[in-house]
Symmetry: C2
Subunit: 448 residues, 2 copies
Amino acid sequence: MYRLLYWIIKSTDPYYPMEEKYYFSIPESKVPRIVIIGGGFAGLKMARSLRNAAYQVVLIDKNNYHQFQPLFYQVAMSGLEPSSIVFPLRKAFQNQKQFYFRNAEVIKIDSLLNEVQTDRGWLAYDYLIIAIGADTNFFGNQMIADHALPMKSVSEALYLRNKILEDLETALNIHDYEARQSWLDIVIVGGGPTGVEVAGALAEMRKYILPKDYKELNPEEIDIHLIESGPSLLAGMSEVSGKKAEEFLLEMGVLVKKNTQVISYDGRLVSMKDGSMIQSHKLIWAAGVTGNRISGLPEDVIVKGNRIKVDTFNKVQGSENIYAIGDIASMVSDDYPYAHPQVAQVAMQQGQLLAKNLIRKTKGREERAFNYVDKGSMATIGKNKAVADLPFMKLNGFLAWLIWLAVHLLSLIGVKNKLLVFINWIINYMTYDPSLRLIIRPRVPKKV
Amino acid sequence: MYRLLYWIIKSTDPYYPMEEKYYFSIPESKVPRIVIIGGGFAGLKMARSLRNAAYQVVLIDKNNYHQFQPLFYQVAMSGLEPSSIVFPLRKAFQNQKQFYFRNAEVIKIDSLLNEVQTDRGWLAYDYLIIAIGADTNFFGNQMIADHALPMKSVSEALYLRNKILEDLETALNIHDYEARQSWLDIVIVGGGPTGVEVAGALAEMRKYILPKDYKELNPEEIDIHLIESGPSLLAGMSEVSGKKAEEFLLEMGVLVKKNTQVISYDGRLVSMKDGSMIQSHKLIWAAGVTGNRISGLPEDVIVKGNRIKVDTFNKVQGSENIYAIGDIASMVSDDYPYAHPQVAQVAMQQGQLLAKNLIRKTKGREERAFNYVDKGSMATIGKNKAVADLPFMKLNGFLAWLIWLAVHLLSLIGVKNKLLVFINWIINYMTYDPSLRLIIRPRVPKKV
């Protein structure tokens, strides 16, 4: 009905762009169609929770795999292979009926027509779920964005791995001490879990791997700087965990600098607000995230951090059938007056609840508001070294590390990924020597 | 002495380019220095065989890893991860003294000065070993080189994997039957082991994986063409093996076309010499190899197939201290009047013998001429389906397949790679469903 009206408007308005619409070949169904954009923690959990529901589910993602973000840093540090921490989305849903996956990038939402446009075609929806997550925040500094190394996808993690290894190969052949430093030293910006875990992993690489692989280099020449703009590390965790993490890092020889902001980086020189500078060819940027953009939503629902304002049912303000879940959603509640934290647990719980609510709807039952159950947070700094804020206690050291391992292993999707990561961890733990230091570059076309 | 002379010539000749030479920082040694270019089967075997010899060994490779070529096709078919079949060269030599690795691309050889120039610096040698191998031969056809998909490196194998998966995603959304065909059909050129193995693996993918992952596609719409210019498949093997391989492929539904040459391909249309044509977005090119180029050698030592003419001691004709081994070397003997075959076994045996001969030299013993011991050749077409020409008999079917598995598993470098490949094979064999169908694209820089 809506569509008929639209076609009349379109055909009578001479200024309306007459582009041809190319629709995805997804069968029409008697049950309503839920379109989920994004196969991260939120979108994946939601799609799986809709198994057996009276809905047709279409999941759209620009990648054909789900990425396990918490272990990106191990990919970057040559500890794990990408394939061990990502999982093909098609395979995840092989046995789910009424489910369709489309590998495409969403261009815009047409909320009047209830359609989304992607780079591979159009698709109509009855319910639209936005689960597009967040990406690296460069705070509008294009120069930093051009030169810094982010770590919010496996591709970026692999790029960082290649860069670290290539710079070591370059440094090997530089005779001049000063010049060599800039290829060896590494600056990490952001003292959150990612920054802390990267700094720790780099310190271990320097200690255990470099002396074996690069005998001609003096590992002590490598400085690892961790720069945090706030007064403490792991700001999202308890004070004792932040302090302990810092202690671990200092023990491992990481140069921690707090209350300092990086203001520019040109690929060579890191400049800080206090006037100090560091020469380095590598700046790892883990200073914050910002919501991914999607066009077609009214301006006023986009709030701080580029997030989408939702009510406690994850419904986008002012809409009847559009929802946002996970990192992209900004939900305020009594317990969280400044919106919920952008972590995997919130994303998964919101995805699951929204699926249940939509199922409740089909059965005429009442929907339930979101209530976040915080199961705690953790960060690992090195072997036998981790910090954990659990609901009932705070831990650090070996026990926290064991819990960290177990939780991450169990959260991975797929038996094979669990097995592969487990084997890798055992071998790495025993040998201190993963064998993934491979600089695999993209294919170069041939001249004949 | 030579070098002094050179500097005098250089400084008195006003036309001599006065570029600054930047030398690798490799320590001077009392023992002679052997520089090996290329860490493939030949170079790796040779460098390892020089362990404990009275030589300093420098291995140069443009990649920092050794690639196990026989399993590239399984990477392309999503059966194995790159990291399972490549091995970091630095790690392979962690315990070898007097050994140095340099990750660099050789630009030219200066045989007057006994130096090689790379993109990362210069290096002097006492003995130079050229083990740069061979690459895809497009027979001078730039249009085919621009559009076809070769498979002579892990990067190329990964690219091919991505292309196959991406085209399936595209085909899914194409309503028109004819248009869809060109995204689904695959043309493989070359009926050697690579072409046969790829065709077989694709046929298995079509049969076992597509119906699960792409339920909306009809697998029967996918045509797999294998095109061979000669009268039989597996020309390097026995007639019975070639026939049996063809039989296996026909059983699996591969369209085999012999005595046909592909003459052009523009990314859409494959044209053959007999006038026939196939519409396809994928042309896998496995039609032959040509030696990699290196400049600085006299023109007359470069022979057919861009190979370097060597005597039976692998010494390059007209040189006293430059050798070539493996695919790049063209050695003629009574048994092989048209040069030795370009296979891994020849490469490894030549690398080992040359190492031994150079060691014999230091001990004043006589060098030995190369005598190839052919241990047979094999190709696998699918599960339980392989052909093997062994010295004592010819096999096909399940037993040949088991031997193929065992030989390839044992030839892989590193306990972990053996273990990973073994686990993958077991899982794939039991489930017919590897979980590596990941389209991991290179990193894209951000706009903020």
